[in-house]
Symmetry: C2
Subunit: 189 residues, 2 copies
DNA sequence: CTAGTTTCCTTAAAGGTATTAAGCAAATGA
DNA sequence: TCATTTGCTTAATACCTTTAAGGAAACTAG
């Protein structure tokens, strides 16, 4: 029997692709084994178990998302930076729904690489440099931005905006206008 | 063998409670059957399948959430209404994480009762009556509010705010201040 | 170039899940 | 009290995860 040339990285990448196709929840050891023309048990030489595999996909997604956001952010400031970051975030989630789902589901898992999370926080703070916010307002604003981005993308993906004819793109754009406005004019405590 | 007295409603309620305890993803036909002291196959007389059971839990959660939000909203206007609604939303999600997860996951399912979703939308519009927004700004604002609420609760539940010492309650309160501010001063297109 | 070792996959097996079909026993009602 | 309906069990199929043990292929020495 010829060898399939599996590695943890290749399995992770394939699992991520599979997640984007059939949904993160449907990514299974068996399905992945079929993809590699191999028996399920063979995967356990490269990956601890299903939980581990999922954590790896989550880590991959967080890293990719951070990379995209970082390059979108490069050389921009103020509202430009805000919009570029937000659009990169949303585009990634729409392009890679399975990866995005993985990134969310596993925030609490200790198995996960924290570095990507730290990068996200740093980038969001970088956006805020264009606005005049001191602590603890800055932390509050970071949380609000992240919440709005994640919430919007999450609801949009779940089909929450399909009942109303207004384009999701238009509301997104206006939401970013509103965020910019409130960051420029952050209410006093 | 004594009868367990199962009905679709009781199963749904028990499944919802179970979801709050062990997580929505871990709610299984077998676990529910164990809870009722019954073989798994027995449930199929009352519920079509696992998918159906989950949709019922989602529907229950959406209705409960809408009820809570409605009573929180009663007799309030302006920022009072916004804060009351938001707090009711967040409190429900924290109190019933399994139910809340169910409510999100199944937005696209056709099997679900749409009435609860409509009620949510109507209530959010009711909040906006205290602010001066015409269409399509109103729809955009509804989407932004919902996104922020869901995103915040979702990230908080997943542990996304635990890395920073700032209290999640405080950031939540300030986020509501910011939303109020931006609704009062919605940016022009 | 061949023998030993390591590496990677397979087979085998145990246990969990969903789901359907058939059967039996308890409640219902004529 | 008998017949019917209702509600559960048993049985069977078909997945899934995961561990343990075995074999073949690819390396590594001599």
């Amino acid at each position: 029997m010829a060898r399939a040339g599996m590695t943890a990285e290749r399995l992770t990448r394939a699992a991520a692709d599979l997640a984007d196709e059939i949904g993160f929840a449907n990514v299974t050891v068996s399905a992945l084994a079929r993809l590699f023309g191999v028996k399920p048990a063979a995967l356990y030489a490269h990956v601890k178990d299903l939980r581990d595999l999922r954590a790896r996909v989550a880590s991959l997604a967080l890293t990719e998302l951070a990379d995209r956001a970082a390059s979108a952010l490069a050389g921009r400031a103020g509202k430009d930076a805000l919009v570029a970051f937000a659009n990169a975030y949303r585009a990634y989630a729409k392009e890679h729904p399975g990866r995005y789902a993985a990134a969310q589901l596993e925030l609490d898992s200790e198995a996960i690489d924290v570095s990507a999370g730290v990068r996200h926080a740093e980038m969001t703070r970088a956006i805020l440099r264009g606005y005049d916010l001191a602590e603890p307002d800055q932390t509050d604003a970071v949380r609000m931005l992240h919440s709005t981005f994640h919430g919007y993308v999450s609801l949009e993906t779940a089909g929450g905006f399909r009942r109303h004819p207004r384009e999701a793109d238009a509301s997104w754009s206006r939401t970013l206008d509103a965020l910019d406005a409130v960051l420029r004019n952050w209410p006093p405590a």
